[in-house]
C-alpha cells in the first residue's frame, strides 16, 4: 500500500520497527518485488503511535504490532472532505494495491511484457474520488501506472458484483472490434467487505474466515488459436433487460436460455456453470445459507423448464455441472468470475469443453432502482484445435 501511495505528503507511513521486515518480504516475492519502485523512508515508531493516538489517522497492524498508519488527505483541498478521510482513502489504496498485485501476478505467470498491454479495465467495487466526483474512476490507469503498462490507456466499469463479467464482455468486444489486441481486466479487493459475514463468528468466538482481500486479473486478447474462446456471437451474452420482469424465471431465461439458444446449444451442452461461488463454510455459518447451491438449484430448475433434464435428475445435474462455492465474500470475486482461471485450465486440459459464467448484481443497493442485473457468457474450447483433439484422444 505504501508503494501504491503517490501523494506528497504521503497517506501511508511505515514504522521503522517494521520497514526492513516488510522490504525483505517484498524483495523475496518474485511477483511483488516488481511493484517496489521507490524507497520507503520509515517513520519513527513513537511518531506513528502519537499520530494514531491523536485521532484522525488509522493504525496499520501486523500480527498485533503497530507497524504504520494511514492518514487522511491533509492538504488544504482535502482537509474538509469526508470522501478523503483515512478510512475511505484506505479503501482506494487497498483496491489499487491488490489489483496491481493480481496484474503483476498475471504478467509473471504468463510472461507478459507490461508494455504490450493496450488497454486496462478496472471493475472493482470501490468508488474513488473527492466530494465533487465520488466514484469518478481512474483506478484502471492508476493500477496500470503501478505495473508499468506504459502503452496502455484504460477506464473503470461499475456494475456492482457483475462488473467483472461486464468488463470481460466489454474487453472482448473491444478486441473483437479490432480496437485493441490485449486488454487487461483487473478487480482489486474490497476492504469494505472484509469480514462482512463475521458477526456469527465473533458471537461464537470463532476465527473470522472471510478475512482476505481478493483480486482478479484477466487478459483478453485476439484469438491465438490455442486459448479458450469468449463467445461474442449475436445474442450470446446473457442480460437482464430493464423492461423485463424481475421474477426469477424471467431473469434466468435471459441469462441462461436465450444466450444458449443464440449459440444453438442446450443447457446440457455446458459442462460447468459458475454462478455466485461464495464459500458455504462462511455463508451457512453466517445464516445466509449455501448461496452457490441455491443458484445451482435455480439453474437446474431452468434446465427442467427448458426440457433439458427431468425433475428427478436435478441432483445429478447439479453434481455434474456444479461445484462447491469456495470464494471469499468479496462481492465481485465470487460472482462467477472466480472460476475463470479453473475453467481455462479445464478447457485447455480437455476435461471440459464449455463453461458458462453467470454473474449477478444487486443494483437496488444504490437506492435508485429496484432492479438487479445479470450478465452471462460462455467460454469454449477452440473448435477442432489440435490441442483439443490431442486431449480428447488422451481422454478416450
Amino acid at each position: 500500500m505504501k508503494q501504491a501511495d503517490i501523494l506528497k505528503p504521503g497517506l501511508v507511513e511505515i514504522g521503522e520497527s517494521a520497514e526492513a521486515r516488510i522490504a525483505a518480504a517484498l524483495a523475496d516475492s518474485p511477483v511483488l518485488r516488481a511493484l517496489v519502485t521507490h524507497k520507503v523512508n520509515p517513520m519513527r515508531t513513537e511518531q506513528v503511535r502519537a499520530e494514531v493516538a491523536a485521532g484522525s489517522s488509522l493504525p496499520l497492524q501486523l500480527d498485533g504490532e503497530l507497524v504504520g498508519l494511514v492518514r487522511r488527505d491533509n492538504r488544504a483541498e482535502g482537509r474538509e472532505d469526508e470522501n478523503l478521510d483515512a478510512h475511505t482513502l484506505l479503501e482506494g489504496l487497498c483496491t489499487k494495491a491488490t489489483a496491481a498485485a493480481a496484474l503483476q501476478w498475471l504478467f509473471e505467470q504468463q510472461q507478459i511484457d507490461p508494455g504490450d498491454i493496450d488497454y486496462i479495465i478496472s471493475c472493482g467495487e470501490e468508488a474513488a474520488g473527492d466530494r465533487y466526483q465520488r466514484g469518478g474512476g481512474g483506478i484502471a490507469k492508476a493500477v496500470g501506472e503501478m505495473c508499468g503498462c506504459r502503452n496502455a490507456s484504460g477506464m473503470d466499469i461499475k456494475n456492482f458484483c457483475a462488473a467483472p463479467a461486464s468488463a470481460l464482455v466489454t474487453a472482448g468486444a473491444l478486441v473483437a472490434a479490432g480496437l485493441y489486441q490485449r486488454v487487461a481486466v483487473v478487480a482489486g479487493g474490497s476492504l469494505a467487505k472484509l469480514g462482512m459475514k463475521s458477526e456469527a463468528f465473533i458471537e461464537q468466538g470463532l476465527p473470522i474466515i472471510d478475512d482476505c482481500l481478493a483480486a482478479d486479473a484477466f487478459l483478453v486478447s485476439s484469438d491465438d488459436g490455442k486459448s479458450p474462446l469468449l463467445r461474442l456471437d449475436k445474442g450470446a451474452i446473457g442480460l437482464a433487460k430493464i423492461g423485463a420482469s424481475t421474477g426469477d424465471e424471467a431473469i434466468y431465461r435471459q441469462l441462461l436460455l436465450e444466450p444458449l439458444e443464440a449459440l444453438s446449444l442446450t443447457m446440457t451442452d455446458i459442462d460447468k456453470y459458475a454462478p455466485e461461488l461464495h464459500n458455504p463454510e462462511i455463508m451457512e455459518h453466517a445464516r445466509s445459507g449455501d448461496v452457490a447451491h441455491k443458484n445451482y438449484r435455480m439453474i437446474a430448475a431452468m434446465a427442467v423448464r427448458a426440457g433439458a433434464i427431468q425433475k428427478a435428475d436435478m441432483p445429478a445435474f447439479i453434481e455434474r455441472v456444479g461445484m462447491v462455492g469456495y470464494a471469499p465474500t468479496q462481492g465481485h470475486i465470487p460472482s462467477g468470475v472466480a472460476y475463470i482461471g479453473h475453467a481455462l485450465n479445464e478447457i485447455r486440459g480437455g476435461r471440459i469443453q464449455r463453461a458458462m459464467i453467470l454473474s449477478k448484481a444487486s443494483l437496488f443497493l444504490n437506492r435508485l432502482t429496484q432492479l438487479y442485473d445479470g450478465v452471462s457468457f460462455v467460454l469454449e474450447a477452440q473448435p477442432n484445435s489440435e490441442l483439443r483433439e490431442e486431449n480428447l484422444r488422451v481422454k478416450k
Partner: protein, 41 residues
C-alpha cells in the same frame, strides 16, 4: 389461511425472490402491503 390477510414479503436475490412469494400469497387470497428482495452477499 392467508385469505384477507395483509402480508409483508421479504425475498432473497439468491433464493426465493419477493415477486415469487407475492404471486404465491396473492394466489392464496392475501394482500401484499410490502414487498422487497434483498441481497445477502
Amino acid at each position: 389461511m392467508l385469505k384477507s390477510k395483509k402480508v409483508a414479503v421479504f425475498g432473497e436475490r439468491d433464493d426465493v425472490a419477493g415477486l415469487a412469494v407475492r404471486h404465491c400469497v396473492e394466489a392464496a387470497g392475501a394482500e401484499v402491503v410490502y414487498e422487497t428482495t434483498s441481497c445477502f452477499v
